[in-house]
């Protein structure tokens, strides 16, 4: 099966050069946009089923990115990771709006009630988890993916389903490589334990 190029990565040096140029060169930002739009849109669309809303959230993500790269304090080494993190925030905001009635003009995250960000993140990952699980051949693994703890499942989804590279994963999760390695190990072990639990339940 042919690969449509979604798995290729932009050379980090070129990406950083484009980010630096984007402050004064619209074409540089356009190039970053061309490369990341399908990825960011895909990330959002895998979590938000409504196409119009996915377009909204994607547009918001790039709008914020444009403001960020033209500011003085953009130091993130991974532009893609930054985009994924902003997109994740936009999706969480969207989920919160769907759950609560938020007054117009007020950001959802300003209405953080009892730390419901985690709930919103988990809900936003639900459809992604189901879509990912449907591609898994092993029945037990499929069921375990859907039922495993949210924090571990997020790591699994970002790495294997969304296909983020290492720097993007670290930026999206806001952690170092070492910390990510620990998170990944824990997530895989949690998944394997969940598979075992599924097998026990089935028996």
């Amino acid at each position: 099966m042919a690969n449509d190029g979604q798995d290729t990565r932009m050379d980090p040096a070129r990406e950083q050069a484009l980010v630096a140029r984007a402050r004064s060169d619209p074409g540089a930002f356009g190039e970053l946009y061309d490369f990341y739009l399908p990825r960011i849109y895909g990330y959002v669309a895998r979590r938000v089923e409504d196409r119009s809303m996915a377009e909204d959230l994607t547009a918001t993500t790039f709008e914020r990115a444009l403001g960020a790269v033209r500011g003085d304090d953009f130091r993130n080494a991974s532009f893609g990771g930054f985009l994924y993190r902003v997109a994740a925030n936009a999706v969480v905001d969207h989920v919160r709006r769907e759950r609560h009635t938020i007054p117009l003009g007020v950001r959802a995250r300003d209405h953080d009630r009892d730390g419901d960000r985690e709930d919103a993140e988990a809900i936003s990952d639900e459809s992604a988890a189901r879509a990912f699980a449907s591609a898994v051949d092993r029945d037990l693994l499929r069921r375990a993916l859907v039922r495993m703890p949210d924090s571990h499942r997020r790591v699994i989804l970002l790495k294997y389903f969304d296909g983020l590279d290492l720097d993007e994963l670290c930026a999206a999760l806001g952690c170092s490589r070492q910390t990510f390695a620990v998170k990944l190990h824990r997530a895989l072990r949690a998944l394997r334990a969940a598979v075992g639990q599924e097998a026990t339940d089935a028996a």
Binding site: G42, A45, E55, A131, F132, R192
Partner: protein, 435 residues
């Protein structure tokens, strides 16, 4: 920039070049399984998770325009160029604009809301005063009509009878109606002096200041979003024994999926769906990168089949279509009977007639066997005993077979494409008991 975005922008830990510690060995199989599943899931969802071409180009135009503004005004420029979130505004305005390519501009405030703003307060004050006065006129008039028999009317004799007042109250209008002249900022128009105040309750007589007509700027025509050029779409159809291999080119990076139509009665019209044409299910590709497929739905050979491929974007709009291509189908090859020669315990040699196939019509040969199915086939998932890479091969020796087992067996030539496989040729089935 929002605080959380600023934190994300400042998160510099990702730039570290520390190597990632390798996964523990016992986790590697799970890692591989998840990696494969992730790639498969992304491919399966590709059509639904790609932005439409119009959305991509429209948003790009806006962002690049905003990026061209001075750096310190980027946020403002981007905000002007991009409408706020539909969810924040409680409407679906944004997607509509994205489709039409229009620029967002704030709508005029609803008059009920506009009254609250300082700029329209004077007008509102006049309106409220006038409304209060008119209410007073009406109430007082009604009361006067009811109570005039109780009150002496000093002007009753002096007032001329109303000329245009409604008839039922014509003889009782004086008295209370005098109230109307006092509080109003402007009196009733001079053109209607003789008319009773009740008649002045027409909207034209209210003291509302005449609004100055504000000259409206000519709407500047918005240029159409520039769309990237679409490369011509090519289609190659190769009639192989047992099926037709279809291969086309990807016309644009914005393709979401493909459909192929077939007609057995001449050309396929360049519309989707096309009248008289059949959609080939085995040739539908839901991934932009999958550009080869097959059609094995025509039994026998000698039919003249015409194909046309269509490329769609993520919004199910036709992006491009190929020219029509006509081929004459060919029946699957018969490789004769399958010869079986026992060699010893658990070993047999199988032979068949060779097939002279073009490379484009052959992927591999499979020697399949089944203990349950008397018509084993690789396409049905039957177990295979050997894989042959040469289409001209005429035999193979298989060893290590479980002695005494009886199976049905046949050899098949397979052509595999990205959307599935079909049988190019096969031998007859033979029942074999392993020596």
């Amino acid at each position: 920039m929002r605080p959380e975005d600023r934190r994300a922008a400042m998160a510099g830990s990702a730039g570290s070049d520390e190597p990632l510690p390798p996964l523990d060995a016992d986790l590697l199989p799970l890692d591989e399984e998840l990696t494969a599943a992730g790639a498969q899931a992304r491919r399966a969802l590709h059509g639904r998770t790609q932005p439409t071409r119009l959305f991509s180009t429209s948003l790009r135009d806006r962002l690049v325009s905003a990026a061209a503004a001075p750096a310190d005004s980027t946020s403002a420029a981007a905000s002007r160029a991009l409408p706020p979130l539909a969810a924040e505004r409680g409407s679906r305005l944004r997607p509509e604009l994205a489709r039409t390519g229009e620029t967002w501009a704030p709508r005029p405030l609803d008059p009920r809301i506009a009254r609250r703003t300082p700029t329209v307060l004077p007008r509102a004050r006049w309106s409220l005063l006038a409304a209060a006065a008119l209410t007073g006129v009406v109430v007082a008039g009604a009361l006067g009509a009811r109570l005039d028999w109780l009150l002496p009317s000093p002007t009753a004799d002096a007032s001329p009878p109303p000329s245009s007042a409604p008839a039922p109250t014509a003889d009782t209008t004086p008295g209370p109606t005098q109230v109307v002249a006092l509080p109003l900022p402007t009196a009733a128009p001079a053109t209607e002096p003789a008319v009773t105040p009740r008649v002045t309750a027409k909207p034209a007589a209210t003291p509302r200041p005449t609004p100055k007509p504000t000259p409206k700027a000519e709407p500047t025509p918005k240029p159409e979003p520039t769309l990237p050029p679409i490369a011509p779409m090519e289609l190659m159809a190769k009639a192989c024994p047992g099926g037709v291999v279809l291969d086309w080119t990807k016309p644009s990076p914005d393709v979401g999926h493909y459909h192929v139509l077939r007609s057995l009665a001449g050309d396929v019209a360049p519309t989707y769906p096309a009248p008289g044409a059949t959609e080939i299910e085995s040739a539908t590709s839901w991934s932009a990168g999958v550009t080869d497929a097959y059609d094995a739905s025509l039994d026998g050979g000698g039919a003249s089949a015409t194909y046309r491929a269509f490329a769609f974007d993520g919004g199910d709009q036709v992006l491009a279509y190929s020219p029509s291509v006509t081929v004459t189908t060919v029946a699957a090859r018969s490789l004769g009977s399958l010869g079986v020669t026992p060699n010893g315990p658990g070993s047999i040699t199988l032979s068949w007639a060779g097939a002279d196939l073009p490379a484009a019509c052959f992927t591999y040969g499979k020697l399949v066997a089944s203990a349950e199915d008397p018509e084993p086939s690789y396409l049905k998932g039957s177990q295979y005993l050997a894989v042959i890479g040469d289409p001209g091969a005429t035999g193979v020796t298989v060893e290590g077979l479980p002695s005494g087992t009886t199976v049905w067996m046949r050899y098949e030539l397979i052509r595999a494409t990205s959307t599935g496989k079909f049988v190019v040729g096969r031998t007859a089935v033979v029942q074999v008991t392993y020596p």
